[in-house]
């Protein structure tokens, strides 16, 4: 909790004063709330930390002249998140950023003209192995359009060998060599997630380009005919139960059950100038890797504020950093919730 420091020892009388203050101040706190305890040297921080550990309390933060003490024990991440939401359980890979489409809400500004920023197969192979060692059980391959990656078949072989994989695609490039590459993929460990924003061409084509809806639906049918599990991702501005029900009915008619429909709301990232504003503090992380680094969440994979590290490998330290930062937000959120009464 506290960094080791070299400092003059705290005299017993000063330690006694600190101890009296701690017993007094922390004793009056409610569990889950905090108080600042002034300190005059790094060695005094150690005294506070020692006292907290001995009395079942916690150091929440160390400031230049005070220690923020939390009444009670801080929960660890295992206790605050269900296992399937643990940062690192999912790993997102932006295999490339170029795309055959230029959607007006794309959170990473992909387009035919975007710098491809390709993740090579060797890097992907190492990343997924390290992620699996850190507890990853689901992989997500996205872009750009992943099928424009020059070695997408090898990428998917590496991924599916490590963990069940979902590839996000617009389903418009299922032909030629790409179709053959797809045909070679194991059906049991690869799911295709196809973007479809509406039950009719209107809204989908408005965001993604004329004629794209019809080709996406054709691609969905092709993928299902090939034996792939297909899920649908619908991206809309905000919650709209009528629109969502229409898409659910339509995809049902294609043989895709409603539990395989994922609804996403537009975030203010990339090309989108409106939508949900996201920050690291308000977004449960899902570890994401691009050719440019490790990111808090795939929705912000070009947002400098969302970049956790510019080093892709080793992946472990970045996952640990994300977990620690997220736990800190959770603790502070609990403290804020406890100290922000409505009346």
């Amino acid at each position: 909790m506290v960094s080791p420091t070299v400092a003059l020892p705290v005299t017993p009388s000063r330690r006694a004063q600190l101890s009296i203050r701690l017993v007094d101040v922390v004793g009056r706190l409610a569990a889950g709330t905090t108080a600042l305890v002034p300190v005059e040297s790094p060695a005094e921080i150690e005294v506070v930390d020692t006292w907290c550990r001995g009395t079942g309390n916690s150091v929440l933060a160390v400031h230049p002249d005070a220690v923020e003490v939390y009444r009670g024990r801080l929960s660890d991440l295992d206790a605050t998140l269900p296992p399937d939401r643990m940062p690192g359980r999912r790993l997102w890979l932006y295999t490339n950023f170029h795309c055959n489409l230029a959607c007006d809400y794309c959170c990473v500004s992909s387009s035919p003209h975007a710098d491809p920023r390709v993740l090579d197969v060797d890097t992907v192979t190492t990343l997924v192995a390290q992620a699996r060692d850190m507890g990853a059980t689901e992989l997500f391959v996205t872009g750009g359009e992943p099928l424009m990656h020059p070695s997408i078949a090898e990428v998917l072989v590496a991924c599916t060998a490590a963990a069940p994989t979902v590839m996000l695609t617009n389903a418009m490039l299922f032909r030629g060599a790409r179709l053959r590459a797809l045909e070679s993929m194991p059906r049991e460990s690869l799911t295709l997630q196809v973007s479809l924003d509406s039950a009719t061409p209107g809204l989908h084509d408005q965001h993604r380009g004329a004629g794209t809806w019809a080709r996406a639906v054709e691609g969905i049918r092709t993928a299902r005919t090939m034996g792939f599990e297909v899920r649908i991702a619908m991206t809309i501005a905000h919650r709209n139960s009528d629109l969502e029900a229409q898409v659910a009915r339509f995809t049902g008619s294609l043989g895709i059950p409603s539990e395989q429909l994922v609804v996403r709301y537009i975030a203010q990232e990339g090309e989108a100038t409106t939508g949900i504003r996201l920050t690291r503090a308000t977004l449960v992380p899902e570890v994401c890797v691009t050719a440019e680094g490790v990111w808090w969440h795939p929705v912000g994979a070009t947002d400098p504020a969302m970049r956790v590290s510019s080093e892709l490998l080793p992946l472990g330290p970045s996952i640990e950093a994300i977990r620690e930062e997220y736990l800190d937000y959770r603790r502070r959120g609990d403290v804020l919730a406890a100290s922000f009464p409505c009346a």
């Binding site: 017993p12 006694a16 009056r28 569990a31 024990r73």
Partner: protein, 270 residues
């Protein structure tokens, strides 16, 4: 499972922390045979009044509040349960390191800092222990801190004041409850040492009037005693309340305070 009427427990709000503690205990009882609710009082005198008036079924009492209830009801009450830590409460007399003070007799002639008049551990019992050793207020210079009267010493405020007096050379000896002393020591070497430690005595308990239905009382007590340190949700509450296990009462541990109240003519209420 048949559910008995909700049992209402009174407790004193001596710190903001009692709210999460009692909410946690209430939650623990929610699915039991006897659900419980709680009412908070600002001091133990109001709580004892409320118990006597039947506003609450059970009161979480200090040793002084329990003995006052015993006196006011002429024994028409009973203790249901205690913390394991309530069985072995002690008073510690401390002085600055190197003072040369050791043992009760060495306290004679010194400046003795004592806590609130309603604190068993910081005032009433140390006064008795000194008196039992033949040391009265005439033989020492008492330095009295009547802080937080009404809380029966629960806040520890008067004990901290007493220790501060020793550190500031305004007193030679301070009387502290064992829990305050143990908490202080968690910071490391304080330059303060023990002069004398008292025999064990009992501290808090859940007190009910004898009129409380036996089945309800036993069902509630049994469920309380089933709280388990190894269950994380239970442990959180046990840690906040300062115990590892709830236990059945051992009333002989109140004898010394009972004697002290009689000897010092401490009234049953004020």
């Amino acid at each position: 499972m048949d559910t008995l009427d909700t049992l209402v427990v009174g407790a004193v709000a001596y710190t903001a922390n009692v709210v999460p503690i009692w909410e946690g205990i209430r939650e623990y009882f929610a699915d039991s045979a006897v659900p419980m609710d709680f009412v908070l009082y600002s001091n133990y005198e109001r709580q004892v009044d409320a118990l006597m008036a039947g506003h609450v079924d059970v009161a979480w009492n200090t040793n002084l509040a329990y003995l006052r209830t015993v006196g006011l009801t002429n024994g028409g009450c009973r203790a249901l349960a205690m913390r394991d830590t309530d069985l072995t409460f002690r008073t510690v007399l401390v002085a600055r390191e190197g003072s040369g003070l050791k043992g009760l007799e060495s306290v004679r002639g010194t400046r003795v800092a004592l806590g609130s008049k309603d604190s068993g551990q910081a005032r009433i019992l140390p006064t008795k222990f000194l008196a039992d050793a033949g040391i009265t207020f005439a033989d020492v210079s008492p330095v009295i801190f009547d802080s937080d009267v009404g809380k029966h010493g629960d806040t520890g405020r008067s004990e901290l004041d007493a220790l501060q007096a020793v550190l500031g050379d305004e007193a030679d000896v301070a009387a502290l409850g064992i829990t305050t002393w143990q908490q202080l020591q968690q910071a490391g070497e304080l330059g303060v040492e023990e002069v004398w430690t008292s025999p064990d005595y009992c501290h808090c308990n859940f007190t009910a009037l004898s009129s409380l239905d036996e089945d309800r009382a036993e069902a509630w007590t049994s469920h309380l005693l089933a709280m388990d340190w190894d269950v994380p949700e239970h442990r959180r509450i046990l840690e906040l309340e300062g115990l590892r296990q709830w236990v059945r009462p051992q009333l002989e541990g109140y004898r010394s305070l009972e004697d002290a109240m009689r000897e010092q003519e401490i009234p049953l209420t004020w």
